[in-house]
Subunit: 605 residues, 2 copies
Amino acid sequence: MPELNDDPKQNVRHRIAALRQWMEKNGVAASIIANSDPHTNEYSAERWMGREWITGFHGSAGTVAVTAETAGLWTDSRYYLLADKALEDTGVELFRMNDQGVPKIEEWLAKELNEGQSVAVMGEETSLLNVETWTAALSGNGIEILTDQPFLNEIWKDRPAAPKGQIYPVPDEFAGFSVAEKIEQVREKMREQQVDTYLLGRTDESAWLLNFKGTDVQARTTTYCYTLVTLEDVRFFIDPEKVTAEHRDELQKQGVSLCDYDSVGDAASSLGEDARVLVVPFYLNGSLFRKLSHTKVNRGRAIVTDLKGRKNATEMKHLRECMLSDGAAIVKTYVWIYEQLKSGAPISEWRVSRKLEEMRGLQEDFAHVSFESIVGFNGNGALNHYTVTEDKDVDIHAEGVLLIDSGGVFMSGTTDTTRVIPLGEVHADHRKDYTLVFKCLVKLMRTKFPQGTTCAQLDGICREQMWQYGRTYKHGTGHGVGFGLEVHEGPQNISGIVTEKMEPEMLSTIEPGIYRPGEYGIRLENMVFTIEAESNQFGDFYQFENITFCPFSPELIDLDLLSDDELAWLNDYHRQVLERLTPHLEGREIEWLRNECREIVRQGT
Amino acid sequence: MPELNDDPKQNVRHRIAALRQWMEKNGVAASIIANSDPHTNEYSAERWMGREWITGFHGSAGTVAVTAETAGLWTDSRYYLLADKALEDTGVELFRMNDQGVPKIEEWLAKELNEGQSVAVMGEETSLLNVETWTAALSGNGIEILTDQPFLNEIWKDRPAAPKGQIYPVPDEFAGFSVAEKIEQVREKMREQQVDTYLLGRTDESAWLLNFKGTDVQARTTTYCYTLVTLEDVRFFIDPEKVTAEHRDELQKQGVSLCDYDSVGDAASSLGEDARVLVVPFYLNGSLFRKLSHTKVNRGRAIVTDLKGRKNATEMKHLRECMLSDGAAIVKTYVWIYEQLKSGAPISEWRVSRKLEEMRGLQEDFAHVSFESIVGFNGNGALNHYTVTEDKDVDIHAEGVLLIDSGGVFMSGTTDTTRVIPLGEVHADHRKDYTLVFKCLVKLMRTKFPQGTTCAQLDGICREQMWQYGRTYKHGTGHGVGFGLEVHEGPQNISGIVTEKMEPEMLSTIEPGIYRPGEYGIRLENMVFTIEAESNQFGDFYQFENITFCPFSPELIDLDLLSDDELAWLNDYHRQVLERLTPHLEGREIEWLRNECREIVRQGT
């Protein structure tokens, strides 16, 4: 069925029709395209954007299910508006995952299908966790999940090939440990978990273990690869063209042998029946798991994710420095924005995002942005994960507020900062919302908490500062950040439903927000390390070390809502910002920053 | 192997030896006795106290595992001290479940055992959840879990029979809905969950659905029974001797037929292959699940637990009234305590617990205490879940503080209140700890939170008030409470690892604490309903309605630690306590209460 025209909605309808044709021919009642590549990455190369291809919806999270008559897309609250627009006139219904009473994909399928029917799933592109959840939920209804029918390959005629981006090594002076040392750390944990074989499914796990960065996906360090670690050897499965001969030799010296990416399945099948294989259902795809099922499967924690989640002293040192240049890049962009506005020169969301990239690029070890900058003028700031594109650019005027959420990947770390700045006159509502978000941020930044504290507990402590004013936000409070790797990484994720513990040396963001659709969005985000606070008869207590130095906007602060403590914290923070960023700035930038960081004093005191 | 003497440690050693003999004879490498009866009740009849019998440890939570050479008991922090004492000289090692680095039972077994070995589990007395967790964890090590070898029946020669306590009906005027109405509510949810058969495993689920109370277990409303609900009929499996003819006829009229308790297995086996059976792995035992495994098993939420978790308007009305008499019973006990102390009359922890029961018994619809009162004088107050016994009674003197955690089961509800009162001179430390606990309690009682808030978020908000002072407690912040049923019930449980949502009409306790081993314990506990607070563009917000009216101790409040807001809350609370309890009290009780509830004013203001 050729694609007849350039109408994207028409394309979606044709593609779904082609899928239904395949389903009918193969006696399958429904099919699911999940939101992932073979490595359950959050952001994939185009080859694995099957859900985007078939629905026209390009949010970073979403899963589509299609039956003979109906179709649905499940996505979270960040993307409701975007998905609504994309799905219009496509016949695909939007299921708002964060709303009350909305069925899960498996619940919906249970109602749509009859006993004895089956659901085809792209096994290679679906996490084992999803496959098992759907199987468990639907088996009671007599509905089977098939993972061995890669239907997308048949209906997606011009499916893109896997990318060929080069990888490049990260020197030990940045990584903190050599590859050989990291392998030994992993093996020690393998012995503790009583496994002898560990297949790293997630690509950033390989990147951390083998000290490299990839370039397969825009604004990501991803390269498509697997690593198989046993107590005796380490095999790195990657397209050999991606690795220079020199790099290959260096890896060899560290005990790592290269194998072709496509041979990982055979390697899995060839493991002995006695192999005790660590399997992490969230990070491994369903097809690859099938090739391991003859072994002694041990489900356990992702060793590398746990190890890389706790930053080493070298990484911490580099990132602390990196954050100063990064803060300076943001300040330089602010000054540029205000000068453009003042001079009446054209300025737009897209231009601001380019400027941010240009300013970060001044730092020597800059690789690329850590994600497409979110630059949201007034109402656009209320769209979570909104990104402007050059062809749909939005002009910025001297009115209201501008939300900027951006970061970079450097050899010396990955950064992620959000601020909101006033562009013209601001109203009491702006100030109240900004100040409440500020209070949430400061509350969690200053919280002392005992060993064992979960992310959900911390999430509640942060949000409560705005709950008492009848406001909340639907996204998480923060996420883990990789060191020079992915801007989102586990194991921690500060959200009300995550019971992972917040451990020392973890690197996280704290980013509460308030969003008023059509008006504006406020989000303030700092990065923090978990460090030790005190030990006493009640146990060990931790706290957060702030590493983000970027001014808040005094014009947006409502002093009546701040306690004396919070005001003192703000003045102290601004003193530090001024002191630490000044060496990275020039004349008028310093002047501007000095004004932003002036001591704020209550009137009448 | 007869039990030769009255030495309890010797008995434990003999019983474990008998188990090992059985294991050797049957080729089993290890055995586990879990902490439950066939219904996964928290508190069991003596027949199902196998773990207590074999270890001599009588805490309410604990699981024992025995291998040929080693043995371990897993329990939580409430019982560390008690278990330590019980296990001394028994050869059973204590595993402190809440401590860092302590292996789980399945991790320990993985190390103790070799591939190809098997572990016997009392399938009928172990939840399906446990059976499945252990099976999943150990199958990778080639270790099998056997649930069909009821070894306890063989080695426990004088194992007690199942109890024969009568059940008695709860009138609709207390229950709010007739049995027939409740059955229809359940069926509606069954249709939503697309199941046609639902086996209620937990005994309090049957008690709620069929509007009765049981008397099989001391201080509990438990009766051993199952209920099987289909879309057509309802079968109540219970020893027929426990039900009067009149009650049986009444149940019949409501659409419920009685069957013998022991026939539930056959009923499960006889279900058709097409039956869509709702299974809740936490509430069903492993043996009974095997008898359902030929059906279409649907794992889902426990419908009755969800329904009974949200109290209806009749229940809420009754409980609000019940809490006033209950508060008065506590105040009467306080006055008695102070009068005894003043007159030099003997007074002890046991006598206080009897007095509490006597005072609660004055309320007409009193059934029994909701749990053995915790009356902890100074150091004993630091022992979580400590209960005094008559033969190990402890005298109380006019020094330090007394912790009292007690409640009753009435036709009009189940109550649970904790306070700490000063007996003599108190120190700055007492006051500081008491005030910090008070701040935690008040913080959560006053928190407004949006729909979707999880228990873990609320837990963090409560604890943070003492974390900032470097203190914490190891138990949960609160639990759900049954209406006239169990004092602990789900689905909610305010703890850092529980992501259940806090829903409207739920009844919960809030009970933070600070414990100083050997010195004293402070815990303050109120009961609250979740009610609506406001709805706005950010969604629906809830708050807690306090229903506990019992004074705090002004002598134990450190005003320097209280904000003006908190002090105003306290004064307002005390005004309400005085107003509401006075009608339930007499002369000198009112006089005492008036003094306790006097307005507290800061010096110099």
